[in-house]
């Protein structure tokens, strides 16, 4: 006897076109004899995609499980609450591994948490943004009301459907947190409340990271034979453009993707865009590529430092900046190092 799950898997496999021909033929012949199956397959075919079909079916599953009473809003509240919890707990763990130099008066850690949870509640549903550091000041204003946060952070009953779509979505968030905390292993153990607050500042107002990106944009192309070859006519024009705008955030309308274009200046601008978007692993790859073509270039260190600051890793950023010590950029690098906690 086919269980519902088996049936579902088979139908979705067929609709995705992933069934081998002979098996599909047998399935089609079965449908000829079985109008129930035929109608159901026809109905599911009307969904936007097999994935959407599976989501809708899971939604029905969970609604049936909860007595068939409650309607659509609930699963999403539970899912959102789950995500907020995960991200919030990831933040707590991450903060615990930080050590900060005392700058301001001690603030209770619990007080700072609701703020960061609020900042996170906005990007959480979108789940596109990378780790915490990418939240910009603007999002604090579009925060969800406090009462809803309280409800989300302490859900009364959480019975998770076996395969919740939100769980699948939550994975990138948790794996990002894991990645962040791995790079912090070896940092000094305990975190005092004051350090936590300074760390908060670093995360929530990425001035230092932003300034580093601006500086990167201003550094002229290293005078090397290779780089001259790489520069095509395209980027020569863009170079004069980028010199008149200090922040490359208003990218030309034609450039809609995050592809890395050939040409030094365009590349630096693309990397900056990736860093601002929080796509740190892509940014790192791009910086490494740039390093191969422009080894020893000052901008490399600055870009690394910028992405590290944006990720909240002050120690790594300082290390990157220190590589500029023997260069004419040393004084400015030292300035930035002093700004970092």
């Amino acid at each position: 006897m086919n269980t519902d799950q088996e049936q579902r898997t088979r139908i979705l496999q067929y609709l995705r076109g992933e069934m081998p021909s002979r098996e599909a033929n047998a399935f089609e012949r079965e449908m000829m004899e079985d109008p129930f199956l035929a109608d159901a397959v026809e109905g599911l075919q009307q969904e936007e995609s097999a994935f959407q079909a599976s989501l809708n079916l899971q939604s029905v599953d969970s609604q049936l499980k909860s007595g068939g009473g409650k309607r659509t809003l609930f699963p999403y509240f539970r899912a959102a609450a789950l995500v907020v919890l995960l991200v919030g707990s990831g933040l707590v763990l991450w903060l615990r591994t930080q050590s900060r130099e005392e700058k301001t008066a001690a603030v209770a850690q619990t007080e700072s948490l609701p703020e960061s949870t609020e900042t996170l509640a906005e990007p959480a549903p979108a789940l596109e943004s990378g780790p915490i550091a990418s939240a910009d000041p603007g999002s604090v204003k579009t925060v969800t009301p406090q009462s809803e946060i309280a409800e989300k952070s302490a859900p009364p009953e959480m019975d998770y459907p076996a395969e919740s779509p939100a769980l699948i979505q939550a994975d990138p968030v948790t794996s990002n947190d894991a990645g962040a905390s791995e790079s912090f292993a070896g940092a000094a153990p305990s975190v005092s409340p004051a350090k936590t607050e300074a760390m908060e500042d670093l995360i929530s107002s990425p001035d230092v990271g932003e300034q580093l990106l601006v500086w990167a944009g201003e550094i002229p192309e290293p005078a090397q034979a290779e780089s001259l070859q790489l520069m095509d006519a395209n980027s020569r024009e863009k170079k004069s453009q980028s010199q008149s705008k200090s922040e490359g955030s208003a990218a030309p309308a034609a450039r809609a993707t995050t592809e890395i274009q050939p040409g030094y200046t365009a590349t630096v601008r693309d990397i900056s865009r990736l860093i601002r978007a929080g796509k740190h692993s892509e940014a790192r790859l791009a910086i490494q590529r740039l390093e191969k073509t422009h080894p020893g270039a000052a901008v490399i260190s600055v870009l690394y430092a910028a992405t590290e600051v944006k990720q909240g890793n002050a120690a790594a950023a300082k290390k990157s900046l220190r590589t500029l010590d023997k260069t004419p950029y040393a004084p400015r690098a030292a300035e930035f190092r002093n700004k970092l906690p």
Partner: protein, 195 residues
């Protein structure tokens, strides 16, 4: 279903009808849920066929689920599965009648018409035995599709790729071909017409 959403092992091996009997005697709603959930995908699929909005389709599934809590206590279908199909379809058609007219294309597709040509198992076996020879007498389009579908066991998709016919053309060739074959075989038997 238990809290994990998996079929309960106590009832997994019982037939639909046995489970139904259990429900009628015990009135245990868990048993009802267990039975219904064997068909969640199919029921949703059918609802989604007739009801365009996925949210409304989901609602329909829930409504049918709740309606059956009562209905199953009073009605005693011989076979649960086809009965559930009828109930689902009727619910959807009634729901549509309230909002707008029934989309006619749902009722006149090849799939619907095919059921009128359904062969009983005996006829089907007879047909399959004679198919090799019989299909040669079919007009080209039907012959091609019948041969590829029944003898070569190719899927619709593969047939469309190999022949260049559209999916609907393939389906009607097969459907018409089957009807012709049935008539041919009946003529041979001596005119045992079933209309």
């Amino acid at each position: 279903m238990n809290f994990l959403g998996k079929p309960d092992s106590r009832w997994q091996h019982l037939s639909d009808e046995a489970l139904l009997e259990q429900y009628r005697t015990t009135r245990d709603t868990h048993i009802h849920a267990e039975l219904f959930c064997r068909y969640t995908t199919l029921v949703y699929g059918v609802c989604r066929k007739y009801i365009e909005d996925p949210e409304d389709a989901k609602d329909a599934v829930l409504q049918i689920f709740e309606k059956l809590l009562q209905t199953l206590l009073t009605e005693k279908p011989e076979k649960f599965r086809p009965w559930l199909y009828t109930v689902t379809k009727n619910h959807c058609l009634m729901a549509l009648r309230k909002t707008k007219t029934i989309p006619l294309d749902k009722l006149t597709e090849p799939g619907f018409m095919e059921n009128e040509d359904k062969l009983n198992p005996e006829e089907t076996e007879h047909l399959m035995n004679r198919l090799q020879q019989a299909q040669l007498q079919l007009p080209p389009g039907q012959q091609e599709c019948i041969r590829m579908f029944y003898l070569e066991e190719k899927s619709y998709k593969e047939i469309t790729e190999l022949t260049g016919y559209t999916l609907n053309e393939v389906k009607s060739h097969i459907q018409n071909g089957k009807r012709k074959l049935k008539l041919m075989l009946e003529k041979e038997k001596g005119g045992d017409y079933e209309y």
